[in-house]
Symmetry: C2
Subunit: 366 residues, 2 copies
């Protein structure tokens, strides 16, 4: 793969990781038959999608395990500098990372479990844990999911002494009468609605930290708006579950959905289909992402391949229904635009407003 190097500079080698992911996927693929005796049928078409789809006892489930990445280290550093505890946002972000993946396949999450792995019990001093729990709970409320349980180990020597590794898992249900969103329904002419992000969300934290470490004032660097870099980085994620729920509920023809995370807008071609995704309009770029991209010296091509650059979620809906989706989104408080369309042609993403194109081999998840 040709392409971005900024992320690799920040310690994330997607080539190696993507290759390992494919090795694991191949092994996983060979296990599909194991639970057939228990009456559970895993849909192999969901492999490589953000959530795996399993049909059991007449119910279609989506199941996902996701993590926050290293964003918690920004909250910890920001707390030390400013005295402000933003672990509520970090808890919210973690649930968002999980449930946004879950609803991508059309599964509305009903239960979420937590993984809070600290490096030492000293992490629990002060208000951090209570904040984390409060943010987690609020995100469950905004997702319509119960918080089931989870695990909170102390991993001395494995997790950094003052750190917390956060992840979560969710199970969702695909409403009866709805086909899971696995890409098969995509057709040329489908409209692509991009729904705005609030900023960094869960991806790009390593790069954001690299940028901070190169700045004399670090996280306290003021942005043009007057907000500090650290404060802006910790704006909490947007949860898109209510939007997917409303769209499915109103029977809008939703053909696919993509959560824009690692790999940035390359994720627009997540589906395993030979189709072109042409974008002619992009949501506004959040100030903090423009700042990261600029300070890291990213080209437009690298920036949009690495960060969400303002697009947190993509909805692919039948020709003519994009405006209706934007209307529903607006009604629910989201910012969304009809951004482009699906076309005949080779698998690629074309971002016309910034003159960037990503070829098929720049996103290999299977």
């Amino acid at each position: 793969m040709s392409g971005p190097s900024a992320y690799e500079r920040a310690g994330v080698d997607y080539d190696t990781l993507d290759a390992a992911k494919r090795t694991a996927l191949a092994a996983a693929l060979s296990t599909t038959s194991f639970p057939l005796a228990r009456g559970a049928r895993l849909d192999d078409a969901s492999r490589g999608e953000p959530a795996v789809v399993v049909e059991v006892g007449g119910v279609t489930l989506g199941f996902v395990l996701e993590c926050l990445g290293t964003k918690s280290t920004i909250a910890r550093a920001y707390e030390e500098l400013s005295g402000v505890d933003r672990f509520d946002a970090i808890g919210y972000d973690t649930v968002a990372a999980v449930v946004n993946d879950c609803c991508c396949v059309g599964a509305l999450p009903f239960v979420v479990n937590a993984y809070f792995a600290t490096g030492s019990a000293s992490w629990y001093a002060g208000s951090r844990h209570a904040s984390l729990v409060a943010g987690w709970r609020r995100a469950c409320a905004d997702s319509g999911a119960a918080w089931g349980g989870g695990e909170s180990p102390t991993l001395a020597g494995l997790v950094a002494t003052d750190g917390i590794d956060l992840a979560g898992s969710a199970v969702g249900r695909v409403p009866d009468g709805v086909a899971p969103l696995l890409g098969a329904a995509l057709v040329p002419g489908d409209e692509i609605v991009l729904v705005a992000s609030s900023g960094l969300h869960a991806n790009g934290a390593s790069l954001a930290r690299e940028v901070a470490s190169a700045l004399p004032a670090g996280l306290e660097t003021p942005l043009a708006s007057g907000r500090s870099y650290g404060e802006a980085l910790l704006d909490e994620s947007v949860i898109y579950v209510a939007l997917v729920d409303a769209i499915l509920e109103r029977r809008v023809p939703l053909h696919y959905a993509s959560h824009i995370t690692g790999h940035g807008l390359r994720k627009l071609m997540r589906a395993d289909r030979e189709l072109t995704y042409r974008i002619d309009r992009l949501p506004a770029v959040p100030e903090v992402l423009a700042f990261v991209a600029s300070e890291a010296g990213l080209t437009e091509r690298d920036a949009y391949a690495t960060l969400n650059m303002g697009s947190g979620f993509a909805l692919y809906c039948g020709a003519g229904s994009g405006a209706g989706v934007v209307e529903i989104a607006t009604e629910l408080g989201y910012v969304a635009v009809v951004a482009g369309a699906v076309e005949h042609g080779r698998r690629r993403v074309v971002l016309e407003p910034v003159g960037v194109e990503y070829a098929s081999d720049e996103l290999e998840l299977r």
Copy 2:
């Protein structure tokens, strides 16, 4: 809580963690109603149990997220010393930790997701990843569960550079006509069958590492059998799913199950019931656990409150059915004994063979 201090010495402060766990549980408890509109009913009686139970669309599910703890660091150190890659066992152990918890509530796992969080992409060098994947897959086969997917982030600065934080999540199904095993069915007179562990399993790794660091030959220290300490620590876990499956299938009256993990045999009183659990026979203590207990200077009381000491899983079955459970276990290749019984009396565990008793306040998980 009076009691063991060895674990705290190794960096695991269960008092702090249990208190935090209760804070999180209280928040979680307030979320039960959130998914009712989606037709999902979380059973609050499952809170504090190893897996949460949710009924959706007429199907009863168990859902769990669990982690391996720090055992992977032993495999890494052992590999560096001996050149032997045992990450297959580590993969197996992680799945075992997850699915053994899942089947505790009577839910037979049908899908498992993986969490492989490394500190740097360099972890993927050599055979480790392929071994891990192979062990993970084999454990799925032994559990009857499909490997769905998962997440494999690189968390620079958060996870140790040469380390891997391993966890997993599973969804299982409680067979139709079976009530989830949540403790309500326990009655005085129930027989307790203890099923043998193979050694350390996933709990006690921090203490085992502390012991290694105090030994001149470390992990290469020979045990009485001639095996090295490191080799023995890495004996892979036992997966108990097939046993629970067979017991449920044959309609043996199974009233409860407990996976013996952190807190050792205190976990025998996991159920939220005012009952006494009297054990008059214990499985053999694996050589490696006797060694850890002895080198760490643990009393019997501390050892059985910290490590599994040979008992990996407890099955609580109706009076008169213990021998039948042992027979099924033997048939399937497990080692099991009718170890004791449930009695009227205050919540406590009595281990007669070692003259140890644990009071109710020594296990507070709710």
